[in-house]
Amino acid sequence: MSDTSTNSRYAPGTHPDLPPPRRTTGVLGWVQMNLLSSPLNVALTLLSIWLLWAILPPSIHWLFTGAVWTAVDRKECWALMDTPRDGACWAFIRGSFELFVYGWYPEPERWRVNLTFILFIAAIVGGLRENIPGKRCWLIFAAAYPFIAAWLLLGGFGLEPVGTNKLGGILLTLVVAVTGISFSLPLGIALALGRRSNLPALRAVCVIFIEFIRGVPLITLLFVASTMLTYFLPPGSTFDLLMRVLIMVTLFASAYIAEVVRGGLQGLSSGQYEAADALGLSYWKAHRLVILPQALKISIPGIVNTFIGSYKDSTLVLIIGMMDILGLGRARLNDPDWLGLAPELYIFIALFFFISCFAMSRYSLNLEKKLQTGHKS
């Protein structure tokens, strides 16, 4: 020990900052470190290269170079290939695209669906972007969007009415998912606050609701929505099936959101509540300004997780006969012109879900980074 101090080339207090050792930097350094560091690692690297070589070229051939993009039916598709069935028949997806997007929405009214899509993008971008002029107006618009969309899609008040049974495909999937997501967040927050309330009656109601909804599979709730709910309603009254499904999906997601938010609320130190109280902030102001911004920030990964889950769970509505993108696609597989094209269909649907879920996931990461303000207290 005393050796090091006597051998040191620098007097105490004069040691300069030295650059780090070099070996670990550069492309070759990276390859050396990560791919070839040991015999086992070399073997795994070679195995990976062989797997890629075996899988990638045929996949690319099937997906792109050998695929047929324009044809009237599957026979024409296969006729256009060097070897029949050696490539994807994307003509099937192209030919059914309008059906997949709009369902059975009447053709002359489809501009309303398009407008709803465009306004949806606008509401998302306007509501989520931080530095946008007129942020307040955008937020009001985003909050009003579900009602504007309902009016545009279903009509009435000057627009041609369209029955909910005409909704299908991606349109129906988005209607179910966006409704579930946008209404379950405020409801879930309210339930989480209720569960932590000092009022025993309110707390009991929230606990019972959350535990009941979480204790029952979504499919069961959907069956209740499609069949049993009519028994509880006054005889003769009709209550739209889609409406019932939307309510069930929202309630189901809100129970999960409530628990995620409750976790976030418990992650805050009691000092935050005390500081807000000591400054004279009322319960609502303290929650709005101090508690929820922090609790929701902590809960972002869980909230987005729940959102993605309920987005994909929206496909369960096909079990009660609603034709969302999955239900409609499967029905389309029975079309004699396009028999046996299941891989194309499922790849298309998977891609559709993956893109939207991946976007949500990236956005949440981005949001977490943006809200990072140093150490939590």
Binding site: Q272, D277, A278, L279, L281, Q294, G374
Partner: protein, 262 residues
């Protein structure tokens, strides 16, 4: 008796006829079965500086937390500036807006910048316009000597700086009374002085202060009265000089010997 000695020590600054700004009578508090505060009687005059000390678990923090209702007392009365603390939320709101509190763990709001921390309550409770609140906030940040940190977030500041922001945040509500709950206990030694300096300056400006602390130097320099608590009771209260030089009770002597000669 105590008030007499207080008055003699500080000359004309305080005397017996001073209005009482806090008046606690026969106050008891329990945590479940645990009797944490026993028959507390305490009168605080306007502009009086009181240091409360005692071993951990003696109830000193709980006592000052009762004064702004962070804890609820179960018996007796607490009257703050002519408003009695009861279940009435209105009274609690009035008292909280007149009583500032500084915590051991600072409890700044980490998601808000320093300036937003300091302006939050003036804007949302006092309904000040933002520009006015910010102007006032900058004055107080200057008073605690960190105006240059206004745009930063609490997580980017040192403990001492955070505690000074916390003091500025309380002062922005123009409180008539300030409660300090071990304000320097979570600080590194070299940062204690910067916080105590701000507190001394505040005391000299005539603020009524109740400070739970073990900083005996601060007590000697600033306090009008030192209160010693043990096991939920006020054991002894005296001006600091007498308190340190001639403590009456054995428990006080034991406590002083432990904190002064360790």
């Amino acid at each position: 008796m105590n008030q007499e000695t207080t008055a003699t020590r500080t000359g004309s600054r305080l005397n017996e006829s001073d209005p009482k700004i806090i008046s606690i009578k026969g106050m008891h508090k329990w945590f479940g079965d645990f009797h944490v505060l026993k028959d507390i009687n305490l009168e605080v005059a306007k502009s009086e500086r009181i240091v409360i000390c005692g071993p951990s678990g003696s109830g000193k923090s709980t006592l000052i937390r009762c004064i702004n209702r962070l804890e609820e007392h179960q018996q007796g009365s607490i009257i703050v500036d002519d408003t009695e603390l009861t279940q009435d939320l209105k009274n609690i709101e009035i008292i909280r807006s007149e009583v500032g509190m500084v915590f051991q763990q600072f409890n700044l709001f980490p998601h808000l910048s320093v300036l937003d921390n300091v302006t939050l309550a003036p804007i949302w409770v006092r309904k000040l316009p933002r520009a006015e609140a910010e102007e006032q906030a900058m004055q107080y940040l200057e008073r605690v000597k960190i105006p240059e940190q206004a745009a930063k977030y609490p997580g980017q500041l040192s403990g001492g700086q955070q505690q000074r922001v916390a003091i500025a945040r309380s002062l922005c509500m123009n409180p008539r009374i300030m409660l300090f709950d071990e304000p320097t206990s979570a600080l590194d030694p070299e940062m204690i002085k910067e916080v105590l300096d701000v507190m001394i300056e505040l005391a000299e400006s005539g603020m009524t202060m109740l400070v739970v602390t073990h900083e005996m130097g601060f007590a000697t320099a600033v306090a009008d009265r030192v209160i010693f608590m043990d096991e939920g009771e006020i054991i002894e209260e005296k001006p600091p000089k007498e308190f340190f030089e001639s403590p009456e009770h054995d428990r006080t002597k034991l406590f002083l010997s432990q904190i002064l000669h360790h």
